[in-house]
Symmetry: C7
Amino acid sequence: MGLRKIVLDVLKPLKGHSIPEFAETLISVEGVRRVSVIVNEIDVETVTLTVTVEGPDIDYGDLKETVERLGAVIHSVDQVVVESEEEEE
Amino acid sequence: MGLRKIVLDVLKPLKGHSIPEFAETLISVEGVRRVSVIVNEIDVETVTLTVTVEGPDIDYGDLKETVERLGAVIHSVDQVVVESEEEEE
Amino acid sequence: MGLRKIVLDVLKPLKGHSIPEFAETLISVEGVRRVSVIVNEIDVETVTLTVTVEGPDIDYGDLKETVERLGAVIHSVDQVVVESEEEEE
Amino acid sequence: MGLRKIVLDVLKPLKGHSIPEFAETLISVEGVRRVSVIVNEIDVETVTLTVTVEGPDIDYGDLKETVERLGAVIHSVDQVVVESEEEEE
Amino acid sequence: MGLRKIVLDVLKPLKGHSIPEFAETLISVEGVRRVSVIVNEIDVETVTLTVTVEGPDIDYGDLKETVERLGAVIHSVDQVVVESEEEEE
Amino acid sequence: MGLRKIVLDVLKPLKGHSIPEFAETLISVEGVRRVSVIVNEIDVETVTLTVTVEGPDIDYGDLKETVERLGAVIHSVDQVVVESEEEEE
Amino acid sequence: MGLRKIVLDVLKPLKGHSIPEFAETLISVEGVRRVSVIVNEIDVETVTLTVTVEGPDIDYGDLKETVERLGAVIHSVDQVVVESEEEEE
């Protein structure tokens, strides 16, 4: 019953953490193994990111909290993959 | 004679369960191993989802019931794959 | 000299069997191992389906009969693959 | 020096043999292992087919004769693959 | 220093050799293992072919001569792949 | 917690280092194994490059410094992939 | 720190060496294993080529000199891949 993959549409202020720092902070979330960040649009004060988080059992509450602690906002959840314990991808 | 894969077009109220919670509830349906949810459209009060459910022998009655118990509606069945016992994908 | 794959364009009345039931009935046809049904168009009273049937030696007569017994009509055969005994895919 | 693959554009009368029967007759041609027939266009009295024939050493004369014996006409040869004996695909 | 692959744009008179015969003659060229002929355009008196020739060490002089002996003309060389002896594809 | 991949949009003066020299200097950055440079646009005095840097644990500070020491400017970070130690790609 | 791949946009006079001869001369450059030449455009007196050179450690100076000795001009470097010694592709 683990959350294996989640794709988020995220709005991040331009100022503050760099993209590599942002990704490196998310990797520390419980159950996360891989974070990929694609920059979609750069505006005057913000950047729109597609954040793909993968791992054996991602803690979504912790992930959401960490994104917000970094000053960013989750616009929407674009995709979610859940798998039962018996089958590992 | 097992139902291996089913793709559903689902309408879910925005309020209520989050997408990760929605997917995590479907994984508990009899015979389901993997649930992937893609968010296609976000309206004022609802979201349109493409829900792909995979497993060795999915119980469609239980799946339908679980989707509805979560307050969502199956708009249409988009794809179905059935395989006989002798051949496992 | 076995019929390994056949793709059919099928018209099914909306009322009656559900798509999963329709696919589960076709899997019981002689020589069939896998049935995939894609829903292409939903009209007021009918659905248009692309039905892909695979197996080591599909009995086309039995398949056609089963489709019709379910109240559906084969519009056209879109693809056929035949292989000789020596080579299994 | 074997003919391994040939793709034909074929015109077949609608009446007469069904597509599965047509494909099953071609598989009996000398040196043929696999026949795939795709239906491209259905007219009032004829169907236009893309017929892909594969095998270790296809006898093109026999293939052509068999197509014509079935009442169909080869419009054009669209692709041909020949390989020398040393290298089997 | 072997020529491993060459793609030719060839103009062939409609009359004369059939496409399978044309391909079967090219396979006899020194160092050729596989010949693929795709028919691009059929005009009143000629056909335009894309001829892909592969082998461990194709003799281009012999290939050109053979194409011309068959009454066809090389319009252009579209692609060439050369590899040194140490690395075989 | 290593930075495995970073894609940069870089502006480089035409004069100065050649593209091969530019790439060969970036490979010396701590934790970098592979540098791919694609030239997107050539202007009168500058070239726009997509620089993809991969490695087990890329030092982004060192990378940024090296790019700037070569007289180039990082326009934007287009993609970042971070992986935790347990999983190597 | 080896140059593994370089893609060049090259202008070659129509007269002089044939495309196969051109490719066969480049394969002799130090550190080159594979040369692929695609013909993009044929003008009255020149041809525009995309030349992809691969090898374990390509000597770019020698490559450039060889291209020019053949009477051709490097219009631009389109892509470059460099890898450190530890990782061979």
